[in-house]
């Protein structure tokens, strides 16, 4: 479940998106900067450890449910990206493997749903992705 908070600290306003990934792990985006947050102690909300993960921005709203919506590939199920086989600028064929996703301890090859050119890869190896999270975007043709 995604929650959006608007916080005002002094004069500055922040838009904070919080997505629960597991009971104690959250993906948090503060003004477009993404963080992975681990809850160290449930009863004491002050003791959370925040590790910056500046590589990826969370999708702004709840992403499309089906993989391969127009111009993008999203994670078909929750898991961990083990390998990314393409980079921005690569031409891919429909059906070509672009990433390996470990879900339920099974290695799943994620294949490109369309032929095109990769505009942007939004995940890195080792990253936890939720269902529907963007993996890559295609260049507009």
């Amino acid at each position: 479940m995604m929650r959006r908070y608007r916080l005002k600290v002094g004069e500055r306003e922040f838009a904070i998106d919080v997505q629960e990934q597991t009971a104690d792990r959250y993906a948090v985006s503060v003004g477009g900067e993404a963080y992975e947050v681990t809850l160290a102690e449930d009863a004491n909300p002050s003791a959370v450890s925040i590790a910056p993960r500046p590589t990826v921005a969370l999708p702004p709203s709840r992403p499309a449910v089906t993989a391969g919506g127009k111009g993008a590939l999203t994670a078909p199920m929750p898991g961990v990206i083990l390998e990314v086989k393409v980079k921005a600028g690569d031409a891919v064929e429909r059906g070509q493997p672009v990433a390996v996703l470990d879900a339920m301890k099974m290695h799943n090859t994620i294949a490109s749903p369309q032929t095109g050119v990769v505009a942007e890869v939004l995940v890195a190896a080792g990253q936890t992705v939720d269902h529907g999270e963007l993996i890559l975007k295609y260049r507009e043709t």
């Binding site: 629960e20 879900a103 339920m104 799943n108 090859t109």
Partner: protein, 375 residues
């Protein structure tokens, strides 16, 4: 000077080699080959093969009354301790999340146990006693510890072949299940897409689940209490997250140690004259049949669900309703991927598979109850 008596004493090993023990040594070598070269469930088959080999050497002191293999058998197999300890580890490794996200899948787990009862009837017709037939039927669940548990109570003399069958077929899931699924489904059915609907399961639900299942199953099927209780204990430890050391110990150190002891002890029951009977062959064949029927029942039931839901259920996930967790679910996912690379059935199949794990335990408990075990 060596007299005849000294010679006899020195050569009593050679003198006691029988053709049965030679055949069993050959069988042990085949099992080792399957484990080492073919990678068929090596963690269990290798110790079983070693136990079988050591027990069939002439006059093997290992299976004498104070022999190590006999002690292992008495300590953990005869009284069902080992399969129960392994179940704690399985519970600690099982993620019931996909099942909780889609509780309908529990029906597939139930359907996946149908073959057990069909096989039981067939075994009765072939002249097995009721407890023996029940022990053979449970092979169909492809759930090793449950098979060991049930047959250990009902038909301890058949423990060896039943365990070997259960674990061999477990490793053959990727070979046996796909043709069964293909035979019963059309290409169009296999291509039905089932989008994953992420429904986050709260920590509270995940923690309550093992407790509720233990209580409900324990009240309904008391004979399943040991197995379900240990399975759910492992799961509770995992989901609670407060005893990480115990969870890790159960799913690694304890499970590994017990697997070694269990394999050796089971292997040591496979002794020449007792094993080389036509009944053993029947057990292997009937066990295979039970497995196929279980898978088929799951697929057919999923087809029914598909019809009722207006084409929204891919019948292949029914095949994951047998136990064999998580192998069966992976096989289903792989088949789906081959038919349509954009179809991801894994989470649905895992849900059905986890349901099958619970259902096979319940089926085991029901069989024990029907046979009036425990007295």
């Amino acid at each position: 000077m060596i007299d005849q008596r000294t010679l006899d004493l020195l050569l009593q090993g050679v003198a006691n080699v029988s053709w049965q023990s030679l055949v069993m040594l050959a069988i042990a070598c085949v099992l080792m080959y399957l484990a080492i070269v073919r990678d068929y469930e090596p963690l269990l088959l290798l110790p079983i093969a070693a136990g079988c080999l050591l027990a069939n050497l002439p006059l093997s002191p290992l299976i004498a009354p104070e022999g190590m293999l006999r002690i292992l058998y008495d300590v953990g197999v005869g009284n069902e301790l080992f399969p129960l300890l392994i179940f704690i580890g399985i519970g600690a490794l099982t993620d019931f999340g996909p099942l909780l996200e889609n509780p309908r899948l529990v029906l597939l787990g139930a359907a996946g146990q149908f073959g057990i009862f069909l096989t039981l009837i067939l075994a009765l017709l072939l002249g097995f006693t009721q407890p023996e037939a029940a022990s053979i039927g449970i092979i169909g669940a492809i759930d090793g510890p449950t098979s060991i548990y049930v047959s250990g109570i009902l038909a301890p003399h058949m423990l060896g072949p039943i365990t070997v069958a259960a674990y061999s077929y477990m490793s053959l899931v990727p070979i046996i299940l796909p043709p069964v699924v293909r035979l019963l489904t059309t290409r169009r059915e296999r291509q039905i897409r089932m989008p994953y609907r992420s429904r986050k399961i709260s920590r509270r639900t995940r923690i309550l689940f093992p407790i509720v299942v233990s209580v409900v199953v324990g009240i309904l099927v008391p004979f399943a209490t040991p197995l379900i209780g240990m399975l759910m204990l492992g799961n509770l430890m995992k989901e609670s997250g407060v005893v990480e050391r115990l969870t890790k110990a159960s799913s690694t150190e304890i499970a590994n140690t017990v697997t070694l002891f269990l394999g050796l002890a089971i292997g040591s029951t496979m002794v020449g004259a007792d094993f080389l009977k036509k009944e053993t062959l029947f057990i292997l064949v009937l066990g295979l049949l039970a497995f196929i029927l279980d898978g088929a029942a799951g697929v057919l039931f999923a087809k029914l669900l598909n019809g009722l839901s207006g084409g929204k259920v891919n019948p292949m996930i029914g095949a994951a309703g047998i136990s064999a967790f998580p192998m069966a679910a992976r096989v289903v996912q792989r088949m789906a991927h081959e038919e349509d690379f954009e179809n991801y059935l894994l989470m649905h199949a895992m849900g059905a598979n986890a349901a099958g794990q619970v259902a096979s335990v319940v089926a085991g408990g029901v069989l024990l109850a029907l046979m009036g075990a425990g007295g």
